[in-house]
């Protein structure tokens, strides 16, 4: 049975508008406009990441991106690596808090097991929160949810923090200890 993520519906409703924006941007780029895909990675680029998701990356063929179904789960298209890796936050075209390439990886690796899949999404969404909002919001998400860690999630982490700038965000988690309370809170 096909499952649809909450974010996917919003995308479909925006579809016509997005197509127009993408086409317009493509034409602008073709006429000598500067590509945003090569902008330097920055720790302050989190907002730009989403904005760029609506832009046409270099080499775009002109067709609007299409959702795919992997293991029965509707997922966004694979973002162009250059664009996706040009900011800390990357591309999250359906705005569901999980980077699109990570979302596809989760569907591929865990789509066949609803329980693990759910925890994998929490894992990825929390890690994206770490990138976007910082340490405590990340801890709030991962400690106050039905999250069950699985060693296999290391594969998600590897993709989530797939370049030095992103890796640094994860690395910085080690700078402070974390205190867990019996009531489940973390800080």
């Amino acid at each position: 049975m096909q499952r649809t993520h909450p974010g996917a519906l919003a995308y479909v409703k925006r579809g016509a508008f997005l197509s127009a924006v993408l086409l317009s941007t493509f034409l602008h780029a073709s006429c000598g406009g500067e590509s945003s895909g090569d902008s330097a990675t920055s720790a302050t680029a989190s907002i730009e990441g989403r904005a760029q998701a609506l832009a046409v990356p270099p080499g775009w063929t002109g067709r609007p991106p299409k959702y795919e179904v992997i293991n029965g789960i509707t997922v966004p298209p694979e973002p162009a690596p250059t664009l996706n890796n040009s900011t800390l936050t990357g591309v999250d075209i359906n705005n569901n808090g999980v980077r699109d390439d990570v979302e596809r990886k989760i569907a591929t690796d865990f789509g066949g097991n609803q329980t693990i899949y759910t925890s994998a999404l929490i894992h990825a969404r929390a890690q994206q929160t770490l990138v976007v909002s910082g340490r405590q919001p990340y801890l709030n998400q991962i400690c106050n949810s039905p999250y069950k860690f699985d060693k296999k999630f290391d594969g998600i982490t590897k993709i989530q923090f797939n370049n030095p700038a992103r890796e640094q965000v994860y690395y910085d988690l080690a700078r402070q200890p974390v205190t867990i309370s019996a009531d489940g809170g973390c800080q």
Partner: protein, 536 residues
């Protein structure tokens, strides 16, 4: 009055320790993502919450973890970061060989945490060796030390639970704490070494089983590739030069030598030292081969037996996870000074209790006069003293002597001596003492012999001599002495409290008690009760 005192004594004995919660701190081993370490920490805290408390202690309600990153970056990438972790281990184990002898000098077994020696200079030397660790190890040592410092400053006890590589970090955290906080670690810090990668367990709380193939070469199973830390150098052909490793022991040429580890302390219940899996289902994946994971193995239901007795007070369950809980509570318990009521006498009946006392008289050679025991008092005439020598001896880091006593005549010297067992009979040459006398017209306290500096004795006095019943307390904590008195011990007159420092600590010495009156002109003297508590 006597009944009330008995009730108080009963309460005292029934309460071996105040409710005492400790902060747990976890440090993970290699190849643990942040989420993995967090998950283990949550499981550890849940295990403590779900298990019955022990020793009348509060259950820990918080656990802090220090994340020891995967490799150099924290992100698992497979082979490259595993190699980085192995490089860290190699560097740390090599470094350990340079401070191993010094580490032996800062070992503080949990059973003798308040009496064992701590060499602060050795701790400083070890701390200086932290600079030789890789940056990826120095960082968690620093975070752990800050966490320990924070809780020690808040007067809280900290139990560090280290797993695998985390032990190399935690042991250096111990050394740093000893160097920074000295004596405070006795009652504020313990390390539980789970799957111990080090050569030492600072508090004899080593929780390691013989079938751990990530540690011990002999635990390898044919179906799995060799993984032991012991044989890491030969497996990788990594050479080193250290105090215990050089070619032909020339002290100059690097060589390949296997590592030394602490011996395992547990074994599978149904096999000598083979796989812990025998008869127990533990985990899956790589841990089915290694039996090394803290969650899948050391917090499992597998039944294990002790291979080395470390003085742990175990629960009935022999499951690994309960044994771990027992270790943690043992660590907490050992941070608490537990007083022991070593002597209590209300002088009931009509004669001295000969299981406790012997009549000794004075050291002036005069014939000792027998005291009178009546109405739950003991009254000493002139030249009369009794001693516990050969019957009761007192040792400890802290000794407290309490008594209700009085000299009712106009000339009195009613007092108590804690006498070093190097003395015999009526001799009081090396002793610590207190009482009330008209000779000084005061409450007095002091010391003779090896406890006195300057020679021949220390003397402090306070208030004026009184023929009123008073309750006295002499507290000796290491080398610090406090003497105080009041109508009752709950009504101490702080203006009469006096303190002084002995020439040496009482730790490691043993004593007997001697009570009675002074010279012929300074009697009689009467005691209602006397008691001695010692704390190791």
């Amino acid at each position: 009055m006597t009944l009330l005192r008995l009730l108080l004594v009963t309460f005292f004995l029934a309460s071996p320790a105040l409710a005492h919660a400790a902060r747990l701190v976890y440090v993970n081993g290699i190849q643990n993502s942040f989420e993995d370490a967090l998950d283990t920490s949550k499981r550890l805290l849940a295990l403590m919450q779900q298990s019955p408390s022990k020793f009348n202690l509060d259950k820990p309600d918080k656990l802090t973890f220090v994340w020891n990153k995967i490799g150099f970056s924290g992100v698992s990438k497979g082979e490259p970061d595993l190699n980085e972790d192995l490089q860290e281990l190699f560097a740390s184990k090599t470094n350990e060989e340079f401070y191993a002898l010094d580490f032996q000098k800062i070992k503080l077994p949990h059973q003798s945490a308040f009496t064992g020696d701590l060499d602060a200079e050795a701790a400083v030397r070890i701390t200086q060796r932290i600079a030789n660790e890789l940056e990826s190890i120095r960082a968690p040592i620093s975070v752990l030390s800050e966490e320990i410092d924070k809780h020690i400053a808040a007067n809280e006890a900290v139990i560090v639970i280290a797993h695998s590589q985390g032990n190399l970090i935690a042991n250096l955290g111990w050394a740093k704490a000893v160097a920074t906080h000295g004596e405070k670690v006795r009652r504020q810090l313990r390390i539980v070494n789970v799957a111990n990668t080090t050569r030492r367990s600072p508090n004899d709380l080593n929780f390691t089983h013989a079938g751990d193939a990530a540690l011990f070469y002999r635990a390898d199973v044919a179906a799995c590739p060799e993984n032991s830390l012991e044989t890491l150098p030969s497996r990788k052909n990594w050479k080193r030069l250290s105090p215990v490793c050089s070619a032909n022991n020339d002290g100059v040429t690097p060589a390949i030598c296997d590592f030394n580890l602490s011996p395992p302390t547990f074994k599978a219940s149904n096999s000598g030292s083979g796989s812990i899996d025998s008869g127990s289902v533990i985990g899956g994946g790589i841990d089915a081969c290694l039996d090394h994971s803290i969650v899948l193995t050391y917090m499992s239901e597998a039944v294990v037996e002790q291979e080395i007795d470390q003085g742990i007070d175990f629960s009935n369950s022999r499951a690994f996870k309960q044994r771990l809980v027992d270790f943690i509570y043992q660590g907490i318990k050992s941070t608490i000074l537990t007083p022991n009521l070593a002597l209590s006498d209300d002088f009931l009946g009509s004669t001295i209790d000969s299981t406790k006392w012997t009549l000794v008289g004075l050291s002036d050679g005069s014939s000792p006069q027998s005291p009178t025991v009546a109405n739950s008092w003991i009254t000493f005439p002139q030249s009369s003293r009794i001693s516990t020598e050969g019957k009761l001896t007192f040792t400890g880091r802290k000794i407290v002597i309490e008594s209700r006593m009085v000299g009712l005549s106009g000339s009195r010297d009613t007092g108590i001596y804690l006498v070093d067992t190097m003395e015999t009979g009526a001799s009081l040459g090396n002793s610590i003492w207190f009482g009330d006398t008209t000779y000084y017209n005061a409450m007095y306290a002091g010391a003779y012999g090896i406890y006195s500096n300057p020679a021949p004795y220390i003397l402090v006095t306070s208030g004026t001599s009184t023929n009123q019943w008073m309750e006295y307390r002499l507290t000796i904590d290491g080398d610090r002495v406090t003497v105080e008195r009041g109508m009752t011990l709950n009504q101490i007159d702080s203006s009469q409290t006096r303190t002084f420092t002995l020439a040496r600590s009482i730790v490691g010495r043993s004593f007997f008690l001697n009570i009675g009156t002074g010279g012929p002109a300074y009697s009689p003297g009467t005691f209602d009760w006397v008691r001695v508590t010692t704390t190791q």
